[in-house]
Amino acid sequence: MAGSTLTIKDLHVAIDGKEILKGVNLEIKGGEIHAIMGPNGTGKSTLSSAIMGHPKYEVTSGSITLDGQDVLEMEVDERARAGLFLAMQYPSEINGVTNADFLRSAINARRGEGNEVSLMKFIRQMDKQMEYLEMDLDMAQRYLNEGFSGGEKKRNEILQLMMLEPKIAILDEIDSGLDIDALKVVSKGVNQMRNEDFGCLIITHYQRLLNYITPDYVHVMMQGRIVKNGGPELAQRLEAEGYDWIKQELGIEEETVEQEA
């Protein structure tokens, strides 16, 4: 089966009545890795939250479709089961629910009643992926994200990505707060997912991550819109020269639209 396609058209999104995204257009296909870059507060994280259906974000106009299906009509869990995944910038901590129980519930929710994954198979798979991500195996029995360090939380997001095998994944600032070793491990996880059925949108404001995960397309976001598109060389130029040249080129003075995240 060929990969899926996530299509975003003229997307406008508001928080508490304030418009943050002002017409975003983007298409991500299976096999492609896209990176959205941009300074803080330009709407990058808003885009990822709106795609996943965060309750605080209101889509005021535009459309998001996955293989032609209207994503905006779906509940959050339906979006996930349709094949979307968001590695979050700030994953929730959930007391009393072990990492393993949580992941098994998530896998079984996809497989449906009567088709649950066998416990042994699940444990083997989870152990294997945890080892690949150089995680302490005890973390399977720890409460979900509770007391995890920043790096542990990010690895745990990638562990979920690898276990759930979505069609399209969005990684929201998965690199922030990571040291270089953790960054390499996280990138290794994402690269292992790379195949023609897997599409990925990486949101970052550092080019550093893109040294380890080479994107096919790079987009720059400012003022709630994608203002520039290019290939990997665009990311390198941004790293070397910053964003000012784009602002000048486009006549933008203030690039932000939202409060510092």
């Binding site: 959050v76 995944f85 979050m88 929730s92 949580f102």
Partner: protein, 436 residues
């Protein structure tokens, strides 16, 4: 304000009950004295809950007739789920309403001098020992109307005594089966751990009737003398319509420790007190409690640790879930008396409300009369966090299942403390059924 309460049972009735069960004179006298005291005493006043309209005193039957179980195979399924039906040499007491219905104590424990028997047999056969501890050290009959009523009318219960230096590894288990809608419970549990001894005791109160317009007045006394350790687990699961007053109180002597793991799953209105008095230096008290409130019920839980000895340590952890129109109040009290230096009083109470009409309250109270101490408290009342639900749902978990996980997770850290696997499992099932 005192209102005249006419008791349905008088002196003559109480005396005749004493002679029917063949009680020693001191026990019978204690009953009569308490019956007299009842008149003068006032009702207890749980903080934040008005109970003047609740019925704790009017009822029809003091005892009901129930037959004993000849084997565990006869147990109703709800009770079978709690006990190990196939185990031979176990330590198990089952009471059916007021009737001692099954008892098994291992030869090993018997030979070591452990006493584990119903309260009436204890009064007859171990009278002197029982007299030393029964309503003398932990709870007094004359505290208020309900303790006096209990002392006058006690109609069931169990006595546990662990002699000096005996350490019991296998738990002692008691199941109080309530299978007669007319049965009122005045149950008294007394657990004594003598010097350097240790034990784990787990009890279940379980109704097999759907609804019962009766009352339960349950007192528990735990005495840990010196360097003794008592782990006390309890799951209360009494039916709708039963008004419950339950008071579990422990006294810990020097270097002793009393740990409570309590699951309150009653369907009726409930006033619950749990107190640990840390009398001796170095004593420890730890209470962990989970509560589920639903329907129209009102429940009030006061958990208290009183520090008398130096270097004493008290810890309270209460988690409650409230749904529908139920009300759940937690009062957590850490009291450090003058002279109890280097003591530490910690408490956390959390209430999770699952509906608009559910009411929850968590009141931390620290009463400290000594300078050189540590104390801390945390309390919260809130609803399921929508961002947590979003996170779980973003992995494909449907909302109802995500809510179940959050609620289960909220209670699990306390449930996991219960000492007997089967009881823990059964409590988890009861919780799942109640919060669904």
């Amino acid at each position: 304000m005192t209102t005249e309460i006419k008791l349905p049972f008088d002196k003559a009735f109480v005396s005749s009950f004493s002679s029917v069960v063949n009680e020693p004179a001191w026990f019978a006298e204690l009953r009569l004295k308490a019956l007299e005291q009842f008149e003068q005493l006032s009702m207890p006043k749980p903080d934040k809950t008005k109970i003047d309209k609740w019925n704790f005193t009017q009822f029809h039957q003091h005892t009901v007739k129930s037959t004993a179980y000849t084997s565990l195979a006869e147990l109703p399924n709800e009770v079978k789920a709690l006990v190990d039906v196939d185990a031979g040499n176990q330590n198990l007491y089952i009471q059916r309403n007021q009737t001692p219905a099954y008892l098994s104590l291992s030869d090993d424990l018997r030979n070591k001098g452990v006493i584990f028997t119903d309260i009436f047999t204890a009064a007859r056969e171990h009278g002197d020992l029982l007299k030393k501890y029964y309503m003398t050290q932990a709870i007094n009959a004359d505290e208020h109307k309900l303790t006096a009523l209990h002392a006058a009318l006690v109609n069931g219960g169990v006595f546990v005594y662990v002699p000096k230096n005996v350490e019991i590894t296998e738990p002692l288990q008691a199941v109080f089966v309530h299978d007669d809608a007319e049965a009122n419970l005045f149950n008294h549990v007394i657990v004594v751990a003598d010097d350097n001894s240790s034990l784990t005791y787990v009890e279940n109160y379980i109704s097999t009737v759907e609804e019962s317009n009766t009352l339960a007045n349950i007192l528990t006394e735990v005495i840990a003398t010196t360097n003794a350790r008592v782990q006390y687990g309890a799951v209360d699961n009494l039916a709708k319509g039963i008004t419950t007053y339950v008071n579990r109180r422990g006294v810990a002597g020097r270097d002793s420790e009393i740990d409570w793991a309590l699951g309150s799953m009653n369907e009726g209105n409930t006033i619950s007190e749990n107190t640990t008095n840390l009398l001796g230096d170095g004593a420890k008290g730890d209470t962990k409690m989970v509560v589920v409130g639903r329907g129209e019920q009102t429940q009030n839980f006061t958990t208290t640790v009183v520090h008398y000895g130096k270097h004493t340590q008290g810890n309270i952890l209460n988690h409650g879930v409230v749904k529908e129109s139920a009300t759940t109040i937690f009062n957590g009290i850490g009291k450090i008396e003058h002279g109890a230096s280097k003591s530490d009083a910690e408490q956390t109470s959390r209430v999770l409300m699952l509906s608009e009409k559910a009411r929850g309250d968590a009141n931390p109270i620290l009463l400290i009369d000594e300078d050189d101490v540590m104390a801390g408290h945390a309390a919260s009342v809130g609803r399921v966090d929508p961002v947590q639900l979003y996170y779980l749902m973003s992995r494909g978990i449907p909302q109802t299942e995500a809510e179940r996980l959050v609620i289960h997770g909220f209670l699990a850290p306390v449930v996991n403390q219960l000492p007997v696997e089967k009881v823990k499992k059964q409590l988890t099932e009861v919780i799942e059924r109640k919060v669904r």
